[in-house]
């Protein structure tokens, strides 16, 4: 149904566009160990794309390649129709790719509000001189960006903890603040590294709902990694399955679920 490069409309009425990001024959090695070997897949505009696989499959490495923490030895990365040169992570963030981390990387000493404001960094352009003077352009810019941040705060229902230093928040809420910071950047592509890791059932349900809402409301393209197949199958449009650094499945959740290689990988059938 979605094998062609055409746009299409999902059953629940969302429009899925053409690929915004394409990974072509990516190989990433640490010394002689290949974390990712010759993997290709694409992420379409407006979709929720999951990357799943057992431990050590290369999921996090793949995310780090997309966001520039790692540079693959081979392969091409295409973003919004252009081949991407090797770039620093902050330059990639400026291109509109935001992410969260598996082990929560918040600015622990700063309040929830300040953390989310850092998400607006790439959108704030006034120079140091005006910031030093504060009045005028810097103040106007600060207020405009603050409005966007407040909107995100409302959306993720974290008004009550706006002023709390994030180091004091419980785990589930920290995960949500991290999502808020990434969302505040209004990214063209949002990368979520195990957004539900370590959560209880209720928190997982909340997070799933937020991910779906973000995608639905803002039309944000989301690529997420998950370890646990259950939740992901319910919320994603298409799924890539990795195992031992290779791609073993790619398609809709149903296709992937019935793929024999995937079943073997998850059930732990011996490799040939």
């Amino acid at each position: 149904m979605n094998a062609s490069a055409q746009t299409y409309v999902t059953e629940d009425g969302r429009t899925i566009g053409t690929p915004i990001m394409e990974m072509k024959n990516i190989t990433l090695k640490f010394g002689s160990v290949a974390a990712i070997s010759d993997i290709s897949f694409d992420i379409r505009e407006g979709e929720i794309r999951a990357i799943i696989g057992p431990n050590g499959a290369g999921k996090s490495s793949m995310l780090n390649v997309i966001n520039g923490f790692y540079h693959p030895q081979e392969g091409e990365i295409w973003f919004r129709g252009k081949r991407r040169k090797p770039m620093k992570p902050y330059q990639i963030a400026q291109q509109g790719i935001a992410r969260t981390f598996q082990n929560i990387a918040l600015f622990k000493g700063m309040s929830t509000l300040d953390n989310i404001m850092t998400g607006r960094f790439t959108h704030m352009k006034t120079n140091m001189f005006w910031q030093g003077i504060w009045k005028g352009p810097a103040e106007r810019e600060e207020n405009e960006n603050r409005d966007i941040v407040e909107h995100v705060i409302d959306f993720l229902e974290i008004q009550a903890i706006r002023k709390t230093p994030v180091g004091r928040l419980p785990y589930g809420l920290q995960k949500r603040v991290e999502l808020a910071r990434a969302l505040a950047a209004q990214p063209k592509l949002l990368l979520l590294d195990e957004p539900m890791a370590g959560m209880n059932v209720e928190e997982k349900e909340d997070m799933s709902r937020f991910i779906l809402d973000v995608n639905d409301e803002f039309g944000t393209t989301i690529a997420l990694i998950e370890h646990d197949m259950g939740v992901v199958m319910d919320i994603s449009d298409r799924v890539v399955v990795l195992d031992y650094g290779r791609k073993i499945g790619d398609g809709t959740p149903d296709e992937v679920r019935n793929n024999q290689d995937v079943i073997d990988a998850y059930l732990g059938v011996a490799h040939d």
């Binding site: 963030a93 981390f101 990387a105 600015f107 700063m110 850092t118 960094f121 030093g132 504060w134 600060e142």
Partner: protein, 330 residues
């Protein structure tokens, strides 16, 4: 009120103002430590270098005159002009910003992700290099620094307070100290506001907290490092001006860094207000101790009292007065 009481007050006031001068040096350490976790051993030498550069520019000295003369057999000394203080300060600030850029480009960039101890060693190397480089560039003789700040006793305060008690001749406060304290306070307050309410300030705090996360929201670590070292250079310039005006620009200026250490232990390595309050406590503490107890035990207590005070503090509050609370989670 007795004269004795007012003399004690005078000691406290002088202690406060000296303390603010210590804070000024401590502030440079805090800025760099907060943003990069590096204890910058070179902060004191930076103050010396900044002051040397300022005096050199003001007096129209030819940089590297000794070297040039030795190589080409010339007899260069000065350009023969005199640069106004304000312009000279701006130029010296420019040199410190250039210095920040060079440090990032040639040292820090290559040490990304290394242990703090390695970065610390690098700053020790940098300190001694700068010391020699400063001598080479501007000569090693003691110089007088004068940017037109008022010096000497403040007559107005002295005469206004004279006669408050029998045998009390008014507060003896040095004009330069009053100015230095005022400027330092303004500087600290501006830096606090800057770091709390601006985009760059937030980015500074973000980098201090988590490098990877900072990168992922689009903050360039290298730019932030240049900014932080420039700010530290600016603070070093102000400290160099104040201390240089007080005691001349010479090698011993770099040793004021040692006065900043107890301030840091007291105020915490990561807190800007901690640096100022810590400085004041140390300043008042050591002056009062010298005044009240010093005569009983033979004086010269100012050399060690600050460290003892800081040690006692460390035992009870290792993170310092305003440092981020150390929470142990198991």
């Amino acid at each position: 009120m007795s004269a004795e009481f007012f003399y004690t007050i005078e000691v406290i006031l002088n202690g406060l103002m000296t303390g603010v001068m210590y804070s000024l040096v401590a502030l440079g350490f805090v800025l760099i430590f907060k943003a990069s976790g590096v204890f910058n051993y070179a902060q004191g030498v930076m103050a010396l270098f900044a002051a040397l550069t300022l005096v050199g520019i003001q007096n129209g000295q030819v940089p590297f005159a000794h070297l040039i003369n030795a190589v080409f057999g010339t007899h260069l000394d000065t350009f023969g002009w005199h640069v106004p203080a304000f312009l000279a300060i701006l130029l010296a600030l420019g040199v410190m910003i250039l210095f920040a850029y060079i440090v990032e480009r040639f040292i820090l960039k290559h040490l990304v992700g290394q242990d703090p101890i390695i970065l610390f060693m690098a700053t020790i190397g940098l300190a001694y290099f700068m010391e020699g480089f400063g001598d080479l560039m501007w000569g090693s003789e003691i110089k007088k620094l004068d940017i037109g700040l008022p010096q000497g006793a403040n007559i107005w305060i002295e005469s206004a307070t004279a006669g408050w008690a029998d045998g009390f001749y008014g507060f003896y406060l040095d004009n330069l100290d009053i100015w230095a304290a005022g400027i330092a306070l303004v500087l600290v307050i501006s830096l606090m506001i800057f770091s709390n309410y601006t985009k760059t300030g937030r980015a500074l705090r973000a980098v201090a907290d988590d490098n990877q996360a900072a990168l992922s929201v689009g903050i360039s670590l290298r730019t932030i490092w240049v900014i932080v070292w420039s700010l530290a250079g600016f603070v070093a310039l102000v400290a160099g001006i104040m201390w240089g005006a007080k005691s001349g620009v010479q090698f011993s200026l770099s040793l004021i860094a040692l006065k900043a250490l107890p301030v840091l232990m007291l105020g915490g390595f990561t807190s800007i207000p901690g640096a100022i309050v810590g400085g004041m406590i140390i300043g008042v503490g050591e002056k009062l101790f010298e005044y009240e107890i010093g005569p009983l035990i033979g004086g010269a207590t100012e050399n060690w009292f600050a460290y003892v005070l800081a040690l006692i503090f460390l035992v009870f509050r290792p993170q310092g007065l305003f440092g981020e609370k150390i929470i142990e989670r198991v």
